[in-house]
């Protein structure tokens, strides 16, 4: 990985320059290493950047992910785009407030965002404006806090939901009288 840094990064620098000239100073572009560019953009600039990159030939919507920065009270949404011609991944990152802030949907630009946004909505509770079908995706009949948020304590949840008093003890130590199911004397 280190040896890649020695090679020339013509494509990367070209894209960096183009994004900077098109979108101005509010957008910060870093070349992280060969094949990887990170773009930090404010929320209202994110979708225009995606549209611009799509037009530039970044056809592949590799992933959309969300990072919960609970101390800052922010969600970081990372759109990862890839272009075959440039052989570069551009990671467009934007921050939104943890509570009461929504993000416009990207499905009009990239169709592939459809299921990713459903997943992020279910796992983090991020609202995507204009998405036709946010709702149940992986979980069924889920009540309560979205599970991937940092303040969701999965161990406490498991203890309550599956009626286990002390998780580490109950599941991993052998009881003196092994459980034999209902109707038996054991």
């Amino acid at each position: 990985m280190l040896k890649n840094g020695v090679l020339k990064m013509k494509n990367e620098e070209q894209i960096k320059k183009d994004i900077e000239t098109t979108f101005g100073e509010l957008v910060k572009v870093h070349i992280k290493r060969r094949h990887r560019i990170k773009v930090d953009a404010p929320k209202n600039m994110t979708l225009p950047i995606l549209a611009y990159l799509k037009q530039r030939g970044f056809h592949q919507f590799t992933l959309l992910t969300c990072v919960d920065w609970i101390k800052k009270g922010m969600f970081e949404l990372v759109y990862n785009l890839y272009s075959l011609d440039y052989n570069v991944h551009v990671l467009v990152s934007t921050h939104i407030n943890r509570e009461n802030e929504s993000m416009p949907t990207a499905i009009n630009i990239y169709e592939m965002a459809f299921d990713y946004e459903r997943e992020i909505h279910e796992m983090f509770g991020v609202e995507f404006e204009g998405h036709p079908r946010l709702g149940e995706f992986l979980l069924e009949d889920w009540k309560g806090m979205p599970p991937m948020r940092k303040d969701f304590d999965t161990r406490a949840y498991v203890e309550e939901k599956f009626n286990v008093k002390d998780l580490t003890k109950e599941l991993f130590t052998r009881k003196e009288q092994p459980y034999r199911g209902p109707g038996s004397n054991g």
Partner: protein
């Protein structure tokens, strides 16, 4: 009755419901190298014609609903084989919010195989043990389910809402 038990034990039809990781060791067990068909065990696609339900690994809550449905459709006598650590105590997923921990709270289990994941030899060994148990008339977990139906239903409904869960939800 003895004859019935004996013949039951020699032709176990296994329901082809492979959940989770353990399903990965099923193809080698079924095919030429280990060849479980020599013990009279063949996979069957529908629960209504099978005797043996394999829970091959972890069950998420969503899958458990389907497993209970499939289990209740099977004709008695029916046998359940818990497969891997995940069915015993949750295994690797002991603190996962979406995986059930103890299978025997929701459906009765005749025999467990431990390990993650069990080798084909272990699977065949379990089949042979189960065969012995059936021939002796000891594999009676399905009776427990009928006798303690309320208890099992209560446990199941604690994990998923029974009123809400119906065929409509599968759409």
């Amino acid at each position: 009755m003895k004859l019935f038990n004996f013949s039951q034990s020699r032709s176990l039809w296994m329901m082809h419901f492979c959940t989770g990781c353990g399903a990965m060791e099923m193809p080698p067990t079924m095919t030429s190298r280990f060849d479980m068909e020599r013990f009279g065990i063949i996979p069957m696609a529908t629960p209504r014609q099978s005797d043996l339900l394999l829970i091959t690994g972890y069950l998420t809550i969503k899958t458990l609903k389907r497993v209970v449905r499939a289990y209740e459709q099977m004709p008695t006598p029916r046998y359940v084989l818990g497969f891997g650590s995940c069915t015993i105590n949750g295994g690797m997923y002991w603190d996962s919010y979406n995986v059930i921990k103890k299978l025997e709270l929701y459906i009765p289990v005749d025999i467990y195989i431990n390990g993650c994941m069990p080798r084909p030899e272990a699977i065949i060994d379990a089949f042979l043990k189960l065969r012995e148990m059936i021939a002796k008339g000891e594999a009676n977990a399905w009776k427990k389910y009928i006798e303690n139906y309320e208890w099992y239903k209560k446990n199941q409904s604690e994990v998923f809402d029974v009123e809400k869960w119906s065929i409509k939800n599968e759409k």
